[in-house]
Amino acid sequence: MGQMKNFFGSRWGIISVGAFIGVLAPLLQKLGNPGNMGVCVACFERDIAGAIGLHRAGVVQYLRPEILGFVLGSLIAAYASKEFRPRAGSAPIVRFVLGAFAMIGALVFLGCPWRAMLRLSAGDWNAILGLLGLIGGIWIGTLFLKGGYNLGRSQKTYTSVGWLMPLIMLGFLVLLFMFPQVKGEAKNGILFYSTKGPGAMHAPIVISLIVSLAIGFLAQRSRFCTMGAFRDLILFRIPHLFYGVVALIAFAFLTNLILGQFHAGFANQPVAHTMHLWNFSGMVLAGLAFCLAGGCPGRQLFLAGEGDGDAAVFVLGMIVGAAFAHNFSLASSPRGVGPHGIAAVIIGLLVCSFIGLTMRQKA
């Protein structure tokens, strides 16, 4: 394991993980996942919120196995490399709120940083606004970090605490197999399913699981993080994680070209709108929230898999945030922003600024 560990922590390690995700995400779309949504963490957590009935937006309900695989793949990697460290207690309520607003911002744009990159690699130029917003939000977050913002220390805790999020995911997996989708039916047992829209589109469960377990494993080993990539570049001028996201975009672009999934333009992109200001602003909010919480939505899943109970709270915040986003009509649709999406972005920015300004450690 030693040599392998060194490799994934190296420059070529992070590049190879980015490339791996970049190839497999568009392939999952070819196999059935929604357009430019190969492994969108925010979208898929939103679909999970729908599948368990936390919101009832009929077109986005599916218990996405990719999210389960990310956590469980990371768990396997953490145990294989003796890195499973149960820890918790670092401002959980703050992480929950940040998770909720990160999700709301992402759903105004219609995608998390992962999807922004996948959208860009498929020619959806609206993603340029989203990525600029993401970088802007992260930049604001680095100002708070420079000003002394700090979530506080976590404590080592019981092994069972670190296992709770993986166990929740295992529970979801059991539900998925107990109540599988019945063609044309909107519900089986306790799980909701979409009969049309993006929630009705998915790759075969077993393939999604295998791919996401592999991504979860590799991302835990390499510390792949789409937010950290920009944060480290802005804050420290350290490009290590940035190489990973460049590789993701480059390989996703090539894969989309080969698969005929590259269509350049702003209009008529899959599950996207063209309201530039709100594509930008939604991702400013998401970028700021991810930066204040210390990781992108994928990274939070991988941390939750290696025993970080605080990252697990952030994940739960995102899932609940998705429910709010759809129940309160905050989420966008291809027609544009939701009726209350703009207000939610403004409130989110105020809440994040309040957190960033007040949680400062005195020198």
């Binding site: 490399s81 670092s90 979530l151 510390r223 950290g228 990781g295």
Partner: protein, 72 residues
Amino acid sequence: MPEIVDASGLSCPQPVLMTLNRIKALNKGEIEVLVDTETSKENVSRAAQSQGWEVAEVTESATGYRILIKKG
């Protein structure tokens, strides 16, 4: 005696931020950084090396890692 930066229990990017702040303040010498995860150990080592500091010693303890960095 090395200066001590206690970043144990702190999540990303605090350990790197604290280490680089101390590096800037000292310019040279020895710093012992305490972290509790493998990720923080890798990040702190990478950041120190990017500033021309040498990772002299890494020791594992019950609560995490002690990273001794130095610059002559």
